[in-house]
Symmetry: none
Subunit: 404 residues, 2 copies
Amino acid sequence: MNIEKILPQLIQKNSSKILLVVLDGLGGLPHPETGLTELETAHIPNLDALAHGAACGLMIPVSPGITPGSGPAHLGLFGYDPIKYQIGRGILECLGIGLSVGKEDLAIRGNFATMNEERIITDRRAGRISTEENRRLVELIQSKISEISGVKVTIKTVKEHRLAILLSGKNLTAEVTENDPQKEGQKLREIQPVSAEGKFTAQVLSDFLQNVEEVLKTASSRANTVLLRGFSKLPEIPGFAERYLLKAACVATYPMYRGLAKLVGMDVLTTGDSLDDQLETVRQAYEKYDFFYVHVKKTDAMGEDGNFSGKVQALEQIDSKIAAVKEMGFEVVVITGDHSTPASLKAHSWHPVPFMLLSRYIIPDHVNRFTERECAEGMLSIFRSQEAILLMLACCGRLQKFGA
Amino acid sequence: MNIEKILPQLIQKNSSKILLVVLDGLGGLPHPETGLTELETAHIPNLDALAHGAACGLMIPVSPGITPGSGPAHLGLFGYDPIKYQIGRGILECLGIGLSVGKEDLAIRGNFATMNEERIITDRRAGRISTEENRRLVELIQSKISEISGVKVTIKTVKEHRLAILLSGKNLTAEVTENDPQKEGQKLREIQPVSAEGKFTAQVLSDFLQNVEEVLKTASSRANTVLLRGFSKLPEIPGFAERYLLKAACVATYPMYRGLAKLVGMDVLTTGDSLDDQLETVRQAYEKYDFFYVHVKKTDAMGEDGNFSGKVQALEQIDSKIAAVKEMGFEVVVITGDHSTPASLKAHSWHPVPFMLLSRYIIPDHVNRFTERECAEGMLSIFRSQEAILLMLACCGRLQKFGA
């Protein structure tokens, strides 16, 4: 069933307001010793109390068994089919370090690498050079190369051997091959157009690479070339204003999430580092927006580090602040994650994510603890993340009846 | 996954019989004082006892968050994708007042309206004239206009300012624009063809409108024109006989539901007003059909009126009759609703609907009360209405194994 087809005729405006709090990587797995997940271990009386008055459930980020990156996970949560709207790796790398990507820009991920005299790659990460050395090289390159054939070149350090490159100009396309042979012991590839439109971009990238290699010769570094991949342009995504008639704001501290929000047309608000700061930002902008997306990173970061007790602590810290959402006046509040990040996996996972929906128009269920196991017994049962926004819109009267 | 694709190869006939009881608008929301829904408030020992021996669950009418009209809600319950098979407003208006719509007919919704001398609409509802005045005008018009260019014209009063118009003849199409400017203070529009095929229909409608206005001049009413919209023809829906190899009968008291059943090829049986009468009709026709659809309106009507205790009483009245379904010999009995109509919303809603399935081939679950919250914990969990018919067919051996 294709809901996108009927959505435009159902959406209507009103004065209601929606708050979506995303606790990144919220869901977890049992600790091998206690058998309890991070959420079950944490003392989170405020989240539990909110769950008590809410309709709860488990949200599947993309599809059962599919582990999403942050891009697809957020697109799903924002109501977009993450398979239809794919965000290129280059775009995500640029968004992740806070580069503003324009419609005509080409975004690229890069690795500093080492090749021998026959241009055979001997180390795809140039010995995993330090972030400091990366910065030194990037500054050097940027000082020598700022434009090629009228195309503006922006280069940014990401971390260790990784960098992001943004080309801004006319007639750029992702219709070119990568120079990365993917394996060590193989020759660096030529960048080739894969269509007639790709010719200009391939030439710009070849020139760029030649210039970079010239600069690196003077840099006394193990890095003597750059592998370029993930060529991508912005996907054309109908924004929140157009798709949902919602004026939406993002209150996130990490560039990646601010970038993802911008992709769907949210205004990105300036905010502080703590959840207190973020909720204060929401309070101050309350009158100006219909929809607020608040992103909290710490839960995911601790999960990625495999730090079970760190994730428990992060949840407890959030808990002490979260009760404030009740007094803010929102018609609809959702607290969930974009995906699970179990400490035992040290990575994103496919597991469904605890979800609670607060509204006048729900049936509060028997869920009294905001945990994976209790949410599995909630009134919302198990559902796809793409459906979450429909529930939010319905609960604040922004979806008209379908058919008569 | 597209089940429609494999359905034809799986369907088989046998002598089993299915009863589907639709309690319109069944689901509700908690009363603000008691925290209990209509179902939770009602004393319904018979429904509870049936639920005890059944597999229960919650059924999503269209998609989470989507509030369906009666058309899409019933199509879903009958196993059809309500987005693929959309029923026009004109068709529903005609079905709702019991007009029989043929394949070539064009169905139209109309409003009596008031315009000034410059043909500017000053009141889209002609002062919301009474149903009696509407009847007087419709009789007058029908007595003067019964045919235009070989097209038979049928006009029926709906309610207050609303009327239904059915054109029957060759070469009619919905490919014409409406004359309704949608807003007061704007000029009545001309009816125009939007394709070459629309020319004849546009001419018929323009002539009809001119004639109607002539008649209304003599009627001493605030109504001096008619706004025409919702032009629609029957959608092509494969019927129950073809799609499920089921000979199906409808036992409904309201024209709208009798019309919807006819759309999918059911025979519409003559019946009385009470559930007792309806079940007696089923008993008498039992041998002649494989599938019976029994529709009960009262639950929805009370919900639409915002009458919480009225809905509770309606449920209790139904309860006292419903136990009879056990002795009727059906292999499969389903009791559910087409959608929820919470008294607190005074309208259809998006909330999932309690569902029970009685059959030899189910696992009875722990559900002992036929309520929203208990059904949420049933064996059938939460599922789309389109899947309900597959469960019914499976439980009576009418679906063969898919693949080897």
